[in-house]
Symmetry: C2
Subunit: 281 residues, 2 copies
Protein backbone atom coordinates (compact mmCIF):
# COMPACT_ATOMS: atom_id res chain seq x y z
CA UNK A 1 0.00 0.00 0.00
CA UNK A 2 2.97 2.30 -0.30
CA UNK A 3 2.80 2.99 -4.02
CA UNK A 4 0.95 5.96 -5.42
CA UNK A 5 -1.19 3.65 -7.47
CA UNK A 6 -2.38 1.83 -4.36
CA UNK A 7 -3.13 5.11 -2.65
CA UNK A 8 -5.16 6.19 -5.65
CA UNK A 9 -7.03 2.88 -5.71
CA UNK A 10 -7.89 3.26 -2.06
CA UNK A 11 -9.05 6.81 -2.52
CA UNK A 12 -11.50 5.53 -5.08
CA UNK A 13 -12.89 2.75 -2.89
CA UNK A 14 -16.42 2.83 -1.56
CA UNK A 15 -15.17 2.55 2.02
CA UNK A 16 -12.76 5.47 1.69
CA UNK A 17 -15.30 7.62 -0.11
CA UNK A 18 -18.00 6.90 2.49
CA UNK A 19 -15.74 7.45 5.51
CA UNK A 20 -14.02 10.57 4.20
CA UNK A 21 -13.86 13.61 6.46
CA UNK A 22 -13.56 17.35 6.01
CA UNK A 23 -11.66 19.17 8.75
CA UNK A 24 -13.65 22.24 9.77
CA UNK A 25 -11.83 23.14 12.99
CA UNK A 26 -8.67 22.16 14.86
CA UNK A 27 -10.31 18.99 16.20
CA UNK A 28 -13.66 19.05 14.37
CA UNK A 29 -14.62 17.12 11.25
CA UNK A 30 -17.64 16.85 8.98
CA UNK A 31 -18.76 13.54 7.50
CA UNK A 32 -21.52 12.45 5.19
CA UNK A 33 -23.17 9.27 6.48
CA UNK A 34 -23.91 7.15 3.42
CA UNK A 35 -27.14 5.19 2.98
CA UNK A 36 -25.11 2.39 1.45
CA UNK A 37 -24.10 0.76 4.75
CA UNK A 38 -27.40 -0.09 6.38
CA UNK A 39 -28.49 -3.23 8.17
CA UNK A 40 -32.12 -3.93 9.01
CA UNK A 41 -33.44 -0.54 10.04
CA UNK A 42 -30.16 1.13 11.00
CA UNK A 43 -26.85 2.43 9.74
CA UNK A 44 -24.23 -0.26 10.45
CA UNK A 45 -22.45 0.33 13.75
CA UNK A 46 -19.08 -0.83 12.47
CA UNK A 47 -19.24 1.64 9.58
CA UNK A 48 -19.98 4.49 12.01
CA UNK A 49 -17.15 3.36 14.24
CA UNK A 50 -14.77 3.44 11.27
CA UNK A 51 -15.78 7.05 10.57
CA UNK A 52 -15.17 8.07 14.18
CA UNK A 53 -11.96 6.02 14.16
CA UNK A 54 -10.75 7.91 11.12
CA UNK A 55 -11.49 11.21 12.87
CA UNK A 56 -9.40 10.09 15.86
CA UNK A 57 -6.58 9.07 13.52
CA UNK A 58 -6.67 12.60 12.10
CA UNK A 59 -6.79 14.23 15.55
CA UNK A 60 -3.98 12.18 17.09
CA UNK A 61 -0.33 11.99 15.98
CA UNK A 62 -0.32 8.17 15.78
CA UNK A 63 -1.88 6.61 12.68
CA UNK A 64 -3.26 3.24 13.78
CA UNK A 65 -6.07 2.28 16.16
CA UNK A 66 -4.73 -0.06 18.86
CA UNK A 67 -7.86 -0.25 21.02
CA UNK A 68 -11.06 1.63 20.26
CA UNK A 69 -14.40 1.48 22.07
CA UNK A 70 -17.64 2.86 20.64
CA UNK A 71 -20.84 3.39 22.63
CA UNK A 72 -23.97 3.71 20.51
CA UNK A 73 -26.30 6.34 21.91
CA UNK A 74 -29.04 6.86 19.34
CA UNK A 75 -29.80 5.74 15.78
CA UNK A 76 -27.66 7.59 13.25
CA UNK A 77 -29.35 8.64 10.01
CA UNK A 78 -27.83 8.86 6.55
CA UNK A 79 -26.83 12.47 5.92
CA UNK A 80 -24.48 15.04 7.40
CA UNK A 81 -22.73 14.56 10.73
CA UNK A 82 -20.16 16.45 12.78
CA UNK A 83 -17.41 14.70 14.75
CA UNK A 84 -15.76 16.53 17.63
CA UNK A 85 -12.61 15.05 19.07
CA UNK A 86 -10.82 15.60 22.37
CA UNK A 87 -7.20 14.58 22.93
CA UNK A 88 -6.53 13.02 26.34
CA UNK A 89 -2.81 12.40 26.04
CA UNK A 90 -0.06 12.35 23.45
CA UNK A 91 2.88 10.11 24.30
CA UNK A 92 5.78 8.64 22.43
CA UNK A 93 4.27 5.19 21.87
CA UNK A 94 0.56 5.88 22.25
CA UNK A 95 -1.91 8.69 22.04
CA UNK A 96 -5.46 8.62 23.37
CA UNK A 97 -8.57 10.62 22.63
CA UNK A 98 -12.34 10.68 22.38
CA UNK A 99 -14.63 11.39 19.44
CA UNK A 100 -18.33 12.19 19.48
CA UNK A 101 -20.51 12.03 16.39
CA UNK A 102 -23.41 14.45 16.31
CA UNK A 103 -26.34 14.97 13.96
CA UNK A 104 -29.11 17.54 13.97
CA UNK A 105 -32.16 16.27 15.84
CA UNK A 106 -35.78 16.93 14.84
CA UNK A 107 -35.68 20.46 16.32
CA UNK A 108 -32.32 21.26 14.74
CA UNK A 109 -30.26 20.97 17.92
CA UNK A 110 -27.26 18.65 17.92
CA UNK A 111 -27.83 15.12 19.20
CA UNK A 112 -24.87 12.89 20.08
CA UNK A 113 -25.23 9.54 18.29
CA UNK A 114 -21.95 7.82 19.09
CA UNK A 115 -19.11 8.36 21.56
CA UNK A 116 -15.76 6.72 21.01
CA UNK A 117 -12.62 6.39 23.16
CA UNK A 118 -9.44 5.11 21.57
CA UNK A 119 -5.72 4.66 21.97
CA UNK A 120 -3.63 4.87 18.82
CA UNK A 121 -0.08 3.83 18.00
CA UNK A 122 2.04 2.79 15.05
CA UNK A 123 1.60 -0.86 14.03
CA UNK A 124 4.67 -0.60 11.80
CA UNK A 125 6.81 -0.02 14.90
CA UNK A 126 5.82 -3.32 16.53
CA UNK A 127 8.03 -6.33 16.55
CA UNK A 128 8.94 -9.07 18.92
CA UNK A 129 7.94 -12.58 19.55
CA UNK A 130 4.51 -14.09 19.01
CA UNK A 131 3.19 -16.58 21.59
CA UNK A 132 -0.33 -17.26 20.61
CA UNK A 133 -2.51 -20.17 21.60
CA UNK A 134 -5.32 -18.89 19.38
CA UNK A 135 -5.78 -20.77 16.12
CA UNK A 136 -7.43 -19.53 12.94
CA UNK A 137 -10.93 -20.81 12.21
CA UNK A 138 -11.18 -23.69 9.77
CA UNK A 139 -13.15 -22.45 6.82
CA UNK A 140 -13.89 -23.77 3.36
CA UNK A 141 -12.27 -21.68 0.63
CA UNK A 142 -13.84 -18.28 -0.08
CA UNK A 143 -15.45 -19.54 -3.30
CA UNK A 144 -17.25 -22.33 -1.46
CA UNK A 145 -18.72 -20.15 1.28
CA UNK A 146 -22.19 -18.64 1.10
CA UNK A 147 -22.56 -15.04 -0.07
CA UNK A 148 -25.23 -12.60 1.01
CA UNK A 149 -26.88 -12.95 -2.40
CA UNK A 150 -28.30 -16.16 -0.91
CA UNK A 151 -29.67 -14.35 2.16
CA UNK A 152 -33.30 -14.99 3.10
CA UNK A 153 -36.07 -12.59 2.15
CA UNK A 154 -36.19 -9.53 4.37
CA UNK A 155 -32.53 -8.80 3.78
CA UNK A 156 -33.30 -6.65 0.75
CA UNK A 157 -33.02 -3.50 2.89
CA UNK A 158 -29.58 -4.53 4.09
CA UNK A 159 -27.77 -2.20 1.72
CA UNK A 160 -24.35 -3.02 3.13
CA UNK A 161 -24.44 -6.39 1.37
CA UNK A 162 -23.54 -4.39 -1.74
CA UNK A 163 -20.48 -2.98 0.06
CA UNK A 164 -19.27 -6.01 1.98
CA UNK A 165 -18.75 -9.36 0.31
CA UNK A 166 -18.98 -11.45 3.48
CA UNK A 167 -19.26 -15.18 2.85
CA UNK A 168 -20.37 -17.58 5.56
CA UNK A 169 -19.17 -21.09 6.26
CA UNK A 170 -22.04 -23.31 5.01
CA UNK A 171 -21.81 -25.12 8.37
CA UNK A 172 -23.12 -22.06 10.24
CA UNK A 173 -25.98 -20.91 7.98
CA UNK A 174 -28.60 -23.31 9.36
CA UNK A 175 -30.48 -20.31 10.76
CA UNK A 176 -31.23 -19.11 7.21
CA UNK A 177 -33.03 -22.43 6.63
CA UNK A 178 -34.85 -22.32 9.97
CA UNK A 179 -32.35 -24.65 11.64
CA UNK A 180 -30.07 -22.64 13.94
CA UNK A 181 -27.45 -24.71 15.76
CA UNK A 182 -28.12 -23.09 19.13
CA UNK A 183 -24.38 -22.76 19.73
CA UNK A 184 -24.22 -19.00 19.08
CA UNK A 185 -21.46 -19.17 16.50
CA UNK A 186 -20.82 -17.69 13.13
CA UNK A 187 -17.75 -17.59 10.94
CA UNK A 188 -16.85 -16.68 7.43
CA UNK A 189 -14.79 -14.56 5.10
CA UNK A 190 -14.83 -10.78 4.97
CA UNK A 191 -13.94 -8.68 1.96
CA UNK A 192 -15.06 -5.34 0.63
CA UNK A 193 -17.23 -5.83 -2.45
CA UNK A 194 -15.05 -3.49 -4.52
CA UNK A 195 -11.89 -5.41 -3.64
CA UNK A 196 -10.33 -2.79 -1.38
CA UNK A 197 -8.04 -4.49 1.11
CA UNK A 198 -8.80 -4.04 4.79
CA UNK A 199 -6.47 -1.71 6.69
CA UNK A 200 -6.41 -1.04 10.44
CA UNK A 201 -9.26 1.51 10.26
CA UNK A 202 -11.37 -0.96 8.28
CA UNK A 203 -10.77 -3.60 10.98
CA UNK A 204 -12.90 -1.44 13.30
CA UNK A 205 -15.82 -2.44 11.08
CA UNK A 206 -14.96 -6.09 10.34
CA UNK A 207 -15.66 -7.42 13.84
CA UNK A 208 -19.28 -6.40 13.38
CA UNK A 209 -19.64 -7.44 9.74
CA UNK A 210 -21.11 -10.95 9.95
CA UNK A 211 -24.79 -11.63 10.71
CA UNK A 212 -25.58 -11.58 14.46
CA UNK A 213 -24.75 -14.76 16.39
CA UNK A 214 -28.24 -14.47 17.88
CA UNK A 215 -29.52 -15.84 14.54
CA UNK A 216 -27.66 -19.06 15.36
CA UNK A 217 -29.35 -19.08 18.77
CA UNK A 218 -32.72 -19.12 16.99
CA UNK A 219 -33.39 -15.46 17.72
CA UNK A 220 -33.90 -13.60 14.47
CA UNK A 221 -34.27 -9.85 14.65
CA UNK A 222 -32.05 -6.94 15.34
CA UNK A 223 -29.47 -7.03 18.19
CA UNK A 224 -28.62 -3.35 18.69
CA UNK A 225 -25.02 -2.88 19.76
CA UNK A 226 -24.57 -1.05 23.06
CA UNK A 227 -20.76 -1.03 22.93
CA UNK A 228 -18.11 -2.38 20.59
CA UNK A 229 -14.41 -2.60 21.46
CA UNK A 230 -11.77 -3.54 18.90
CA UNK A 231 -8.11 -4.35 19.52
CA UNK A 232 -6.09 -4.05 16.33
CA UNK A 233 -2.97 -6.18 16.71
CA UNK A 234 -1.35 -6.17 13.27
CA UNK A 235 -1.68 -4.60 9.83
CA UNK A 236 -3.56 -7.20 7.78
CA UNK A 237 -2.04 -8.81 4.70
CA UNK A 238 -3.96 -8.09 1.47
CA UNK A 239 -6.86 -10.38 0.62
CA UNK A 240 -9.99 -11.64 2.34
CA UNK A 241 -10.00 -12.03 6.13
CA UNK A 242 -11.34 -14.88 8.20
CA UNK A 243 -13.72 -13.91 10.99
CA UNK A 244 -14.96 -16.19 13.78
CA UNK A 245 -17.64 -14.92 16.16
CA UNK A 246 -18.96 -16.58 19.29
CA UNK A 247 -21.45 -15.71 22.00
CA UNK A 248 -20.90 -17.37 25.34
CA UNK A 249 -23.48 -15.67 27.48
CA UNK A 250 -26.99 -14.52 26.59
CA UNK A 251 -28.66 -13.44 29.82
CA UNK A 252 -30.94 -10.73 31.14
CA UNK A 253 -31.75 -9.54 27.63
CA UNK A 254 -28.12 -8.90 26.65
CA UNK A 255 -25.42 -10.89 24.92
CA UNK A 256 -21.75 -10.47 24.20
CA UNK A 257 -20.18 -11.21 20.82
CA UNK A 258 -16.49 -12.02 20.56
CA UNK A 259 -14.83 -11.84 17.15
CA UNK A 260 -11.39 -12.88 16.03
CA UNK A 261 -10.11 -11.62 12.70
CA UNK A 262 -7.32 -13.50 10.91
CA UNK A 263 -5.43 -12.49 7.80
CA UNK A 264 -4.05 -14.63 4.99
CA UNK A 265 -0.68 -14.83 6.76
CA UNK A 266 -2.41 -16.62 9.69
CA UNK A 267 -2.00 -13.67 11.99
CA UNK A 268 -4.68 -12.72 14.51
CA UNK A 269 -4.96 -9.12 13.29
CA UNK A 270 -7.83 -8.02 15.53
CA UNK A 271 -10.04 -9.10 18.40
CA UNK A 272 -13.35 -7.42 19.09
CA UNK A 273 -16.06 -7.76 21.66
CA UNK A 274 -19.45 -6.15 21.82
CA UNK A 275 -22.31 -5.96 24.28
CA UNK A 276 -25.63 -6.06 22.45
CA UNK A 277 -29.31 -6.20 23.30
CA UNK A 278 -30.75 -9.63 22.55
CA UNK A 279 -33.43 -9.64 19.86
CA UNK A 280 -36.93 -9.31 21.32
CA UNK A 281 -38.15 -11.91 18.78
CA UNK B 1 -27.52 -5.65 50.89
CA UNK B 2 -30.83 -3.89 51.44
CA UNK B 3 -30.73 -3.74 55.22
CA UNK B 4 -29.39 -0.72 57.06
CA UNK B 5 -26.87 -2.94 58.79
CA UNK B 6 -25.42 -4.10 55.46
CA UNK B 7 -25.26 -0.54 54.21
CA UNK B 8 -23.37 0.45 57.34
CA UNK B 9 -21.00 -2.49 56.96
CA UNK B 10 -20.29 -1.47 53.38
CA UNK B 11 -19.72 2.13 54.34
CA UNK B 12 -17.05 0.91 56.73
CA UNK B 13 -15.30 -1.30 54.18
CA UNK B 14 -11.83 -0.52 52.92
CA UNK B 15 -13.06 -0.50 49.32
CA UNK B 16 -15.86 1.96 50.03
CA UNK B 17 -13.64 4.20 52.11
CA UNK B 18 -10.89 4.24 49.47
CA UNK B 19 -13.24 4.85 46.52
CA UNK B 20 -15.39 7.49 48.23
CA UNK B 21 -15.99 10.75 46.39
CA UNK B 22 -16.81 14.29 47.32
CA UNK B 23 -18.99 16.18 44.84
CA UNK B 24 -17.47 19.61 44.27
CA UNK B 25 -19.42 20.67 41.20
CA UNK B 26 -22.43 19.50 39.18
CA UNK B 27 -20.36 16.81 37.46
CA UNK B 28 -17.05 17.11 39.29
CA UNK B 29 -15.79 14.94 42.14
CA UNK B 30 -12.74 14.80 44.37
CA UNK B 31 -11.15 11.53 45.41
CA UNK B 32 -8.23 10.55 47.59
CA UNK B 33 -6.14 7.84 45.88
CA UNK B 34 -5.09 5.45 48.64
CA UNK B 35 -1.61 3.96 48.85
CA UNK B 36 -3.19 0.69 49.96
CA UNK B 37 -4.00 -0.61 46.46
CA UNK B 38 -0.63 -0.72 44.76
CA UNK B 39 0.88 -3.42 42.60
CA UNK B 40 4.57 -3.48 41.68
CA UNK B 41 5.38 0.18 41.14
CA UNK B 42 1.90 1.48 40.39
CA UNK B 43 -1.56 2.09 41.77
CA UNK B 44 -3.76 -0.82 40.68
CA UNK B 45 -5.66 -0.05 37.49
CA UNK B 46 -8.82 -1.85 38.56
CA UNK B 47 -8.98 0.21 41.76
CA UNK B 48 -8.68 3.44 39.73
CA UNK B 49 -11.34 2.22 37.35
CA UNK B 50 -13.67 1.56 40.28
CA UNK B 51 -13.18 5.14 41.47
CA UNK B 52 -13.97 6.53 38.02
CA UNK B 53 -16.85 4.07 37.73
CA UNK B 54 -18.28 5.33 41.00
CA UNK B 55 -18.06 8.92 39.71
CA UNK B 56 -19.99 7.92 36.59
CA UNK B 57 -22.62 6.20 38.72
CA UNK B 58 -23.01 9.47 40.62
CA UNK B 59 -23.17 11.56 37.43
CA UNK B 60 -25.67 9.34 35.58
CA UNK B 61 -29.23 8.49 36.62
CA UNK B 62 -28.70 4.71 36.32
CA UNK B 63 -26.90 2.99 39.19
CA UNK B 64 -25.05 0.04 37.65
CA UNK B 65 -22.15 -0.18 35.19
CA UNK B 66 -23.17 -2.31 32.20
CA UNK B 67 -20.08 -1.76 30.07
CA UNK B 68 -17.17 0.44 31.10
CA UNK B 69 -13.87 1.03 29.31
CA UNK B 70 -10.84 2.65 30.95
CA UNK B 71 -7.77 3.91 29.08
CA UNK B 72 -4.69 4.38 31.26
CA UNK B 73 -2.78 7.49 30.24
CA UNK B 74 -0.12 8.04 32.88
CA UNK B 75 0.84 6.58 36.26
CA UNK B 76 -1.53 7.74 38.99
CA UNK B 77 0.03 8.59 42.36
CA UNK B 78 -1.49 8.11 45.80
CA UNK B 79 -2.98 11.43 46.90
CA UNK B 80 -5.69 13.81 45.76
CA UNK B 81 -7.40 13.53 42.39
CA UNK B 82 -10.24 15.29 40.58
CA UNK B 83 -12.71 13.44 38.37
CA UNK B 84 -14.64 15.39 35.76
CA UNK B 85 -17.57 13.66 34.10
CA UNK B 86 -19.45 14.40 30.88
CA UNK B 87 -22.89 12.95 30.16
CA UNK B 88 -23.36 11.78 26.56
CA UNK B 89 -26.95 10.59 26.75
CA UNK B 90 -29.64 9.79 29.28
CA UNK B 91 -32.23 7.29 28.10
CA UNK B 92 -34.89 5.18 29.72
CA UNK B 93 -32.87 1.94 29.83
CA UNK B 94 -29.30 3.21 29.58
CA UNK B 95 -27.26 6.28 30.18
CA UNK B 96 -23.75 6.92 28.90
CA UNK B 97 -20.96 9.22 29.93
CA UNK B 98 -17.22 9.79 30.22
CA UNK B 99 -15.05 10.42 33.25
CA UNK B 100 -11.50 11.75 33.36
CA UNK B 101 -9.29 11.48 36.43
CA UNK B 102 -6.75 14.29 36.86
CA UNK B 103 -3.90 14.89 39.28
CA UNK B 104 -1.54 17.79 39.63
CA UNK B 105 1.66 17.26 37.64
CA UNK B 106 5.14 18.30 38.75
CA UNK B 107 4.51 21.93 37.76
CA UNK B 108 1.09 22.01 39.41
CA UNK B 109 -0.95 21.87 36.20
CA UNK B 110 -3.58 19.16 35.86
CA UNK B 111 -2.52 15.95 34.11
CA UNK B 112 -5.13 13.46 32.91
CA UNK B 113 -4.28 9.99 34.25
CA UNK B 114 -7.28 7.95 33.20
CA UNK B 115 -10.18 8.38 30.79
CA UNK B 116 -13.27 6.21 31.08
CA UNK B 117 -16.34 5.73 28.88
CA UNK B 118 -19.30 3.80 30.25
CA UNK B 119 -22.92 2.89 29.75
CA UNK B 120 -24.98 2.36 32.88
CA UNK B 121 -28.34 0.73 33.53
CA UNK B 122 -30.25 -1.01 36.29
CA UNK B 123 -29.27 -4.64 36.82
CA UNK B 124 -32.33 -5.13 39.03
CA UNK B 125 -34.54 -4.45 36.01
CA UNK B 126 -33.11 -7.32 33.96
CA UNK B 127 -34.87 -10.60 33.52
CA UNK B 128 -35.42 -13.10 30.79
CA UNK B 129 -33.91 -16.32 29.70
CA UNK B 130 -30.29 -17.38 30.06
CA UNK B 131 -28.67 -19.26 27.19
CA UNK B 132 -25.08 -19.55 28.09
CA UNK B 133 -22.51 -21.97 26.77
CA UNK B 134 -19.89 -20.60 29.17
CA UNK B 135 -19.15 -22.83 32.15
CA UNK B 136 -17.65 -21.80 35.49
CA UNK B 137 -13.99 -22.64 36.06
CA UNK B 138 -13.29 -25.76 38.09
CA UNK B 139 -11.49 -24.64 41.21
CA UNK B 140 -10.53 -26.29 44.48
CA UNK B 141 -12.41 -24.85 47.44
CA UNK B 142 -11.35 -21.38 48.61
CA UNK B 143 -9.55 -22.81 51.66
CA UNK B 144 -7.39 -25.04 49.47
CA UNK B 145 -6.26 -22.33 47.06
CA UNK B 146 -3.05 -20.35 47.48
CA UNK B 147 -3.20 -16.94 49.11
CA UNK B 148 -0.92 -14.01 48.42
CA UNK B 149 0.81 -14.58 51.76
CA UNK B 150 2.66 -17.30 49.85
CA UNK B 151 3.73 -14.94 47.06
CA UNK B 152 7.40 -14.90 46.08
CA UNK B 153 9.78 -12.28 47.39
CA UNK B 154 9.46 -8.98 45.62
CA UNK B 155 5.73 -8.87 46.23
CA UNK B 156 6.21 -7.04 49.53
CA UNK B 157 5.46 -3.73 47.82
CA UNK B 158 2.18 -5.07 46.46
CA UNK B 159 0.08 -3.37 49.11
CA UNK B 160 -3.19 -4.49 47.57
CA UNK B 161 -2.59 -7.99 48.86
CA UNK B 162 -3.75 -6.59 52.21
CA UNK B 163 -6.98 -5.40 50.59
CA UNK B 164 -7.76 -8.30 48.28
CA UNK B 165 -7.77 -11.88 49.46
CA UNK B 166 -7.29 -13.47 46.06
CA UNK B 167 -6.46 -17.17 46.18
CA UNK B 168 -5.04 -19.00 43.19
CA UNK B 169 -5.72 -22.53 42.01
CA UNK B 170 -2.55 -24.45 42.98
CA UNK B 171 -2.56 -25.83 39.41
CA UNK B 172 -1.72 -22.37 37.97
CA UNK B 173 0.95 -21.14 40.39
CA UNK B 174 3.88 -22.92 38.75
CA UNK B 175 5.29 -19.51 37.75
CA UNK B 176 5.90 -18.71 41.44
CA UNK B 177 8.16 -21.78 41.59
CA UNK B 178 9.91 -20.96 38.32
CA UNK B 179 7.76 -23.38 36.33
CA UNK B 180 5.22 -21.43 34.30
CA UNK B 181 2.89 -23.61 32.20
CA UNK B 182 3.27 -21.46 29.08
CA UNK B 183 -0.49 -21.61 28.49
CA UNK B 184 -1.18 -18.04 29.62
CA UNK B 185 -3.86 -18.95 32.14
CA UNK B 186 -4.65 -18.05 35.68
CA UNK B 187 -7.68 -18.68 37.84
CA UNK B 188 -8.67 -18.37 41.42
CA UNK B 189 -11.01 -16.92 43.99
CA UNK B 190 -11.49 -13.22 44.61
CA UNK B 191 -12.64 -11.70 47.87
CA UNK B 192 -12.00 -8.43 49.64
CA UNK B 193 -9.77 -9.00 52.67
CA UNK B 194 -12.25 -7.31 55.00
CA UNK B 195 -15.10 -9.53 53.85
CA UNK B 196 -17.04 -6.89 51.94
CA UNK B 197 -19.09 -8.55 49.21
CA UNK B 198 -18.43 -7.49 45.64
CA UNK B 199 -21.09 -5.30 44.06
CA UNK B 200 -21.29 -4.15 40.43
CA UNK B 201 -18.84 -1.27 40.97
CA UNK B 202 -16.37 -3.64 42.63
CA UNK B 203 -16.61 -5.96 39.58
CA UNK B 204 -14.83 -3.22 37.60
CA UNK B 205 -11.77 -4.09 39.70
CA UNK B 206 -12.09 -7.88 39.93
CA UNK B 207 -11.25 -8.62 36.29
CA UNK B 208 -7.81 -7.15 36.93
CA UNK B 209 -7.26 -8.62 40.40
CA UNK B 210 -5.31 -11.81 39.73
CA UNK B 211 -1.57 -11.84 38.91
CA UNK B 212 -0.85 -11.19 35.21
CA UNK B 213 -1.24 -14.16 32.87
CA UNK B 214 2.16 -13.16 31.46
CA UNK B 215 3.67 -14.76 34.61
CA UNK B 216 2.27 -18.09 33.36
CA UNK B 217 3.92 -17.41 29.98
CA UNK B 218 7.27 -17.18 31.77
CA UNK B 219 7.40 -13.40 31.54
CA UNK B 220 7.67 -11.94 35.01
CA UNK B 221 7.51 -8.19 35.34
CA UNK B 222 4.88 -5.55 35.02
CA UNK B 223 2.32 -5.65 32.17
CA UNK B 224 0.94 -2.10 32.15
CA UNK B 225 -2.70 -2.01 31.12
CA UNK B 226 -3.45 0.16 28.10
CA UNK B 227 -7.20 -0.39 28.19
CA UNK B 228 -9.61 -2.42 30.30
CA UNK B 229 -13.25 -3.05 29.37
CA UNK B 230 -15.71 -4.70 31.76
CA UNK B 231 -19.21 -5.93 31.01
CA UNK B 232 -21.23 -6.36 34.19
CA UNK B 233 -24.01 -8.84 33.50
CA UNK B 234 -25.59 -9.53 36.88
CA UNK B 235 -25.45 -8.41 40.51
CA UNK B 236 -23.20 -10.96 42.20
CA UNK B 237 -24.43 -13.17 45.03
CA UNK B 238 -22.61 -12.62 48.35
CA UNK B 239 -19.41 -14.57 48.91
CA UNK B 240 -16.14 -15.11 47.08
CA UNK B 241 -16.11 -14.99 43.27
CA UNK B 242 -14.38 -17.32 40.85
CA UNK B 243 -12.19 -15.63 38.24
CA UNK B 244 -10.68 -17.31 35.17
CA UNK B 245 -8.24 -15.37 33.01
CA UNK B 246 -6.72 -16.38 29.70
CA UNK B 247 -4.41 -14.81 27.15
CA UNK B 248 -4.75 -16.08 23.61
CA UNK B 249 -2.46 -13.76 21.76
CA UNK B 250 0.86 -12.23 22.81
CA UNK B 251 2.33 -10.50 19.78
CA UNK B 252 4.16 -7.34 18.85
CA UNK B 253 4.83 -6.52 22.49
CA UNK B 254 1.15 -6.55 23.52
CA UNK B 255 -1.19 -9.13 24.95
CA UNK B 256 -4.88 -9.35 25.68
CA UNK B 257 -6.29 -10.75 28.92
CA UNK B 258 -9.83 -12.12 29.04
CA UNK B 259 -11.45 -12.62 32.41
CA UNK B 260 -14.71 -14.30 33.34
CA UNK B 261 -16.12 -13.69 36.81
CA UNK B 262 -18.59 -16.18 38.30
CA UNK B 263 -20.57 -15.87 41.50
CA UNK B 264 -21.61 -18.54 44.01
CA UNK B 265 -24.92 -18.99 42.18
CA UNK B 266 -23.00 -20.11 39.06
CA UNK B 267 -23.84 -16.96 37.15
CA UNK B 268 -21.36 -15.31 34.82
CA UNK B 269 -21.59 -11.90 36.51
CA UNK B 270 -18.92 -10.10 34.46
CA UNK B 271 -16.61 -10.46 31.49
CA UNK B 272 -13.59 -8.26 31.07
CA UNK B 273 -10.87 -7.84 28.50
CA UNK B 274 -7.75 -5.76 28.60
CA UNK B 275 -4.99 -4.83 26.22
CA UNK B 276 -1.67 -4.69 28.04
CA UNK B 277 1.98 -4.18 27.22
CA UNK B 278 3.90 -7.44 27.51
CA UNK B 279 6.60 -7.43 30.20
CA UNK B 280 9.98 -6.42 28.82
CA UNK B 281 11.46 -9.26 30.93
Amino acid sequence: MSTTESAAEQAASEFDRDTSLRRVGPQVFEAQISDGWSTIGAVHGGYLKAIAGRALAAALPHPDPFTVTAHYLAATQPGPAVIRTSVARVGKTHSTGSASLFQAGPDGTEVERLRVLGTYGDLSALSGEVRTTAVPPELPPYERCVGMEHAPEGFAQVTLRHRMAARLDPAVVGWALGEPSGRGETRGWFAFADGRDADPIALLLVGDALPPTAFDLGMPGWSPTVELTTHVRARPAPGPLRVAVTTRNLAGGYLEEDAEIWDGADRLVAQSRQLALAPRG
